[in-house]
């Protein structure tokens, strides 16, 4: 069994940023394990621009954003193994992975989970109807078009207004497909407003809110979908059915942290984020196992993924050096109007930034962090949508050593 100070699982934006930062903090014995043939993660297929404005102050395409970190990791000679798929991690921090040389086993002082997320599939939605070819998740369509040079279809309907779905609406239009419409079951879009503008409106693609697909048609290749309006409880309204002929259905209905390995290791997962429960050091309930990026909670921007991983590296470096991290016994809960809160546990002794999302679009709202009946922090905003993460800074002195926190909309 080989020993490592830290094993980083996943060579995407989170893993790369953590590796670079750990090395800068003087941690030498790092290994990144990546299942793909090259580093970069999902950014490799996100060829559109708009990445990096927060982290680098300029707008980059996905491959360019990834390249910055890959170049840095290579310049720092950080070891990585590609085509290596981790099969199992155990609570004693043993990592088992498969590659073409055999089954590899490492024992790590610290493990960093940076596996990213995956897309919800048709099955998870339980869309009724037949099961023809031609139903793709947005990310699959994106990989086919941008990496494999394959066109999924020509007459397209999109279900879900997630960012990748909207970006694929534009991408497929540019490549000659006819994108008929985007349907969203919620009364508001789940992706960012700028994508509604530049990916849909710019190309005359209609977005129908409070609509969903109630039947998929076609025994061989997709022939069409039946779309219905939904009521306030997201139930289809009888009599509103309309059929759209199409050969391709793109699903952009949400992302889920990729937590097969976390579950296998016995980590506690959060019901809302579907990622691990972590403390302010991004440490899970197994000491020395850290998580950041989309495997922890699905982010809106890759910039925040990188920055979160960099923050994690601080704490992980201390842990590897054997320094005790402050115990985190204060629980943070999401109250009314708030979801996807991270981290879930705090020490109460250090300044911390909470990240969360509003549950529905809001204007001129205030988020309040309450502890022991008093306001520990307040965050006012002009406008907030569920598509974007909100960050609430809590000063070190603002917290008491005991007493759980609740974050809610005022």
């Amino acid at each position: 069994m080989m020993e490592k100070d830290v094993i980083i699982i996943g060579g995407g934006p989170a893993g790369l940023a953590a590796a670079v930062e750990l090395r800068k903090k003087g941690i030498e014995d790092i290994l990144i394990l990546e299942r793909e043939a090259s580093l970069g993660g999902i950014l490799r297929q996100c060829i559109h621009d708009g990445f990096g404005l927060t982290r680098f102050g300029e707008t980059l395409s996905g491959p360019e954003y990834a390249r910055r970190f890959i170049d840095e990791a290579e310049a720092l000679h950080i070891p990585y193994a590609v085509d290596t798929m981790v099969l199992h991690i155990s609570p004693d921090k043993t990592v088992t992975a498969a590659c073409r040389d055999g089954l590899k086993v490492w024992k790590a002082k610290a493990i960093m989970l940076a596996m990213g997320c995956r897309e919800r599939s048709r099955g998870a939605l339980g869309i009724p109807g037949e099961r023809p070819a031609g139903v793709f998740t947005a990310g699959t369509a994106q990989a086919y078009i941008n990496m494999y040079n394959r066109m999924p279809g020509k007459e397209v309907v999109i279900l879900g207004s997630g960012d990748i779905g909207m970006i694929m609406a534009r991408r497929m239009t540019l490549e000659g497909a006819r994108v008929k419409a985007v349907f969203e079951i919620m009364p508001y879009a789940s992706g960012l407003p700028r994508n509604i503008q530049q990916c849909l409106h710019d190309y005359g693609i209609p977005l129908y809110l409070s609509h969903t697909i109630t039947e998929i048609k076609g025994g061989s290749r997709l022939q069409g979908v039946v779309v219905s309006e939904v009521d306030g409880h997201m139930r289809p309204i009888a009599g509103t059915e309309k059929e759209y002929s199409c050969d391709t259905l793109i699903l952009s209905v949400g992302l889920i942290p990729e937590n097969e390995l976390s579950e296998g290791a016995g980590l506690t997962l959060d019901e809302q984020t579907k990622g691990a429960v972590v403390d302010e050091h991004f440490q899970t309930d197994i000491p020395g196992v850290f998580a950041a990026g989309n495997v922890l909670h699905v982010h809106d921007l890759v910039d925040f993924v990188s920055m979160e991983a960099e923050q994690l590296a601080d704490c992980a470096a201390s842990y590897i050096r054997g320094r005790a991290l402050a115990p985190c016994t204060i629980r943070v809960a999401a109250g009314s109007g708030v979801g996807n809160l991270v981290p879930q546990r705090l020490s109460g002794t250090e300044a911390v930034t909470l990240s969360c999302r509003v549950r529905s679009p809001q204007r001129d709202g205030t988020l309040v962090v309450m502890q022991n009946g008093r306001e520990a922090a307040v965050h006012a905003f002009k406008r907030a949508v569920p598509a974007e993460m909100l960050h609430i800074r809590i000063a070190a002195g603002a917290l008491q050593r005991q007493g759980d926190l609740e974050v809610s909309m005022k």
Binding site: I47, G50, S61, P63, M147, R194
Partner: protein, 126 residues
């Protein structure tokens, strides 16, 4: 007249209210922007809407079949499909280096087509 625009400069996606004359030349007032870039965008959007695009070009003899590309700056919105047409005609030979310009001043737009992903020479291995 009043018109609403969604700013596409950053993820905030500010809703911009633009009060302008009917000729769309004189702008009276811009509201809703959280930063000066928003006002600049609104002005541009009213008078000369421009967009950038990202797509791919065919690569021969590379580890990937495609190299992704972007434009160095936005082109007039109504030129997008013509620019796509010009890019589609290009075939590159591996190796391809990210950052290299493969088409200067595409369709006289003043914008260059830049490779955003390097592709090494070799057998395909996506």
């Amino acid at each position: 007249m009043m018109q609403t625009y969604t700013c596409i400069i950053c993820p905030n996606g500010c809703e911009l209210q633009v009060d302008m004359m009917k000729d769309r030349r004189t702008i009276k007032k811009i509201e809703g922007n959280l930063c000066p870039k928003g006002a600049e965008y609104a002005r541009q959007e009213v008078q000369d809407p421009r967009r950038t695009i990202a797509t791919s070009v065919l690569v021969q003899g590379g580890v990937l079949p495609l190299a992704s590309v972007r434009l160095s700056k936005a082109v007039p919105k109504n030129q997008i499909f013509d620019v796509m047409g010009a890019i589609k005609k290009i075939t590159l030979q591996a190796p391809v280096q990210a950052g290299s310009v493969i088409l200067f001043n595409v369709l006289d737009s003043g914008s260059d087509v830049i490779v955003t992903r390097s592709v090494k020479a070799g057998g395909q291995n996506v």
